[in-house]
Symmetry: C2
Subunit: 492 residues, 2 copies
């Protein structure tokens, strides 16, 4: 647990060599599945490219087709980055080797340091001191790796599906970080840079934040945070960065017991709940309550224009869903837009006289969502649109198939027509959304559960970061975050 | 909108003929995919069995291989149940036909009644009055069908995956009900009886509740509720039923605008929020906030022994997950159990000296969850166990595969061994859970996202209603409902 308040006037930190090392050595490399030194090396090799990769294992021999050097000192060429997965007690000696080799960055997976207290705290200080002496910057210890999806340098222990994109992640929990990555991929979001910061013996959450703030490929910063080591610096950085890109933070350790668990996890001191909340709000940091929430919020920021107010036009393909969704919107402080007379007229011309004639728009059985969306986007009393159900269902036909085998041929034709029509409608939806600069969030419900996630419509939704949320409540929460940020920026 | 306060002393309502009609006519039957009269008839035919099924369509001819009678009166044999999907304006005449044929039950899909106000209210009264005169009990109008998964009588418009089981559902929203069914199936829960009650012109939420309360196959009642027509009767029924089986209700229309939307949906008057909450609590009704919550809670009640207290032993396969989960448990008023000395000793003997030595149990890298669970179940200071991550991952190997192609053969063997071991461990988990009568809720995280949902382990989890929750927050919320009910019954 190393707590300090750095001067924020220090020169900009350069972590380029960490995220795109030209030569890397894995210390504790292993050929045995299940060992971290195996996972890490295998994954580095998968996207090797021009990068030089060396395996170090004190038993020597060969590991995954590479010569295994018994010590880092034996590696004949320069090593920029050392990835260390040895036992805690061996780490100081390994760090001395790193100094000897003039390594620039070390990623320390090894645990058993400050998070276990007592001797671990002293051992961590020792390792950090050796590194500092050699000018080596450390990620970790007790971390689960880092990567840059553009450079292809991955130090993860697991093979995860990751596409290059615009979200960067800083996490003080390796497992939560890996969960985040899996979920981000599932909704179609790509990553720029990722780091599991571990015990932060040297590089802090704030350092990565500064670097990601400057990274042109990073459009959204997500953080899992247990405690800040440089609170003032964090707030200064955040207040600058949030002018350009949203920072979304899950602050864990909110309860007394949670904070205690955080101490024995990464040795971080969780600040007072109320102080954190107020400080974050002041610098425009979006604070969320769970990992799903982080991912949902990132999705909204990736895909949507920022709303100019909190008045929502709600289209619910089902009356009950409209009631539930209205409850959700109101509970997040969003407002139900009052439609203009013109909007009511437009909807009258599209829908049967049984529609709800108000907000939420309940088409009362009419299965066509799109003609109801256009008037809402055009209405100047509407700042954002939420659609519950209906989209991505391929005209409701998917849900019927195959109720009667005698009609299978007929179905196939109908499905194709419906899919073609829906794809065209969805293109228009994106156009309209961008023309009117109003966010459109989609929630799945009934139909969503059954919609094939590999359908062309779903694929298109993912491409445009319009992946449906799994409930009206989650869609609402994400929309409320957009409004919050918009209000901070003075747009709403 | 027909509001009345019935006498609760009336004789027990017999709906057997509704849920297992021996002869049924679909009025408005259609051969055209997309029409409700098509979906409904197709689905009735799929599980026809000995049931006599008649198609009625005023244009005559043939529908899905059946002769289509131009009027119900032409059907040569008796009809017990009429399923009506005609236009609102034709429904009164159809109901006269039903009276003429001495039909006992009518399921009215047709909309355009009290939910649209004005003329619709009068039309609904007229239809209800005709039915009352003929002694016909009505489901709906403006409903989306009903079924009994044991009798095989389904009047749904869509083909949904439904297994027979112990959950019964009453819903005032057809779409929300269908969403519920899809989600219940996804987590492995089967259904006994289901009804979408629509506008409740005749049969009310309370009637179905009374009937499901007596149904021996119903162990859990789920309700989506916008408004009660017989509040006092509901509370009387609930106070009796909750002694035997949990009633879990999603009360929609909590916000002012939500309540307004409810009025134009099913014409139900949503009661005051605070009054509802207090009244529900008094009769042991579990109140939830969203559809996911309904399903999560049903899953907990289906699979778990009732806890004897609120002290939770938490095993988190990852430190950050432990922090998040502790926050979640505390925010739901659950307590972090203080382990006995013996439990600490047992865990010491299993885990490396890096484990957290407290609650949450963080094995600090040890990937074996089961040896950590047994001591928690055995500890008398623990009332319930929550496991976050680790289970269903097949020893963590699934996540590694296939990082290095050269090892594929080796992996396959390791995976098989791991799966065999995990299946045996899971069997023991069920035994231990039932022996100590302590609920064990499982949350997926990182690994969960990647676990194959068709794996044998996942299948076994579903069979035992131990399907993992998709986040620690959702697992916690479900566990808190168990504790709430347990406390109501005086067990906790």
């Amino acid at each position: 647990m190393i707590v300090s308040e750095k001067q924020s006037a220090s020169p900009a930190l350069d972590l380029d060599g960490l995220f795109d090392a030209s030569s890397v050595a894995v210390i504790g490399a292993s050929g045995k599945p299940g060992k971290w030194g195996f996972g890490i090396l295998s994954i580095i090799l998968m996207k090797k490219g021009e990068r030089k990769v060396y395996a170090v294992n004190k038993r020597g021999g060969e590991v995954l087709g590479l010569k295994a050097y018994q010590s880092l000192r034996e590696v004949p060429e320069p090593v920029d980055c050392a990835v260390i997965a040895t036992a805690a007690e061996d780490t100081a000696a390994v760090m001395e080797d790193c100094v000897h080799k003039a390594v620039k960055f070390a990623v320390l997976f090894s645990g058993g340091f400050s998070e276990v207290g007592g001797e671990g705290v002293r051992a961590e200080r020792e390792v950090a001191e050796i590194a500092r002496r050699g000018g080596i910057r450390i990620v970790g210890p007790n971390c689960m790796g880092h990567f840059d999806a553009y450079s292809g340098f991955f130090t993860l222990p697991y093979k995860l599906p990751v596409n290059a994109g615009e979200v960067s992640v800083i996490t003080q929990s390796g497992n939560s970080g890996i969960g985040m990555l899996a979920m981000l991929h599932k909704v179609g979001l790509g990553i720029s840079k990722y780091v599991s910061s571990g015990n932060e013996a040297d590089l802090h959450f704030e350092d990565y934040l500064e670097y990601f703030g400057r990274d042109a490929r990073t459009k959204i910063v997500l953080g899992y945070l247990e405690g800040l080591r440089e609170g003032r610096r964090f707030l200064e950085l955040a207040s600058t960065i949030t002018r350009d890109k949203p920072i979304v933070i899950l602050k864990a350790g909110r309860s007394g017991e949670g904070a205690q668990a955080a101490r024995s996890h990464t040795g971080a001191l969780a600040g007072t709940e109320a102080v954190t909340a107020a400080a974050f709000r002041q610098v425009g940091v979006i604070r969320v309550g769970e990992i799903n929430d982080l991912v949902d919020t990132a999705l909204a920021f990736a895909g949507q224009p920022l709303p100019r107010g909190r008045r929502v036009g709600l289209l619910s393909m089902g009356g009950g869903l409209g009631v539930i969704s209205t409850d959700a919107l109101r509970s997040h402080g969003l407002e139900m837009a009052r439609f203009s007379e013109k909007t009511i007229e437009k909807l009258d011309s599209v829908l049967s006289n049984r529609w709800s004639r108000g907000n939420p728009v309940d088409p009362a059985g009419d299965p066509r969502p799109y003609p109801c969306i256009w008037p809402l986007l055009e209405d100047e009393n509407v700042d954002a649109v939420m659609v519950v159900g209906g989209i991505g269902v391929v005209g409701g036909l998917a849900t019927l198939l195959p109720v009667h085998p005698s009609l299978e041929g007929e179905y196939a034709g109908l499905m194709q027509d419906a899919e073609r029509e829906e794809l065209a409608n969805f293109d228009r939806l994106i156009e309209m959304r961008d023309k009117y600069r109003k966010p459109v969030v989609i929630a799945r419900t009934v139909s969503g559960v059954m919609v094939e996630e590999t359908s062309k419509v779903f694929e298109k939704m993912q491409q445009h970061f319009m992946t449906p949320y799994t409930s009206p409540e989650r869609a609402t929460r994400a929309l409320a975050r957009l409004v919050e940020y918009s209000e901070y920026l003075g747009i709403a």
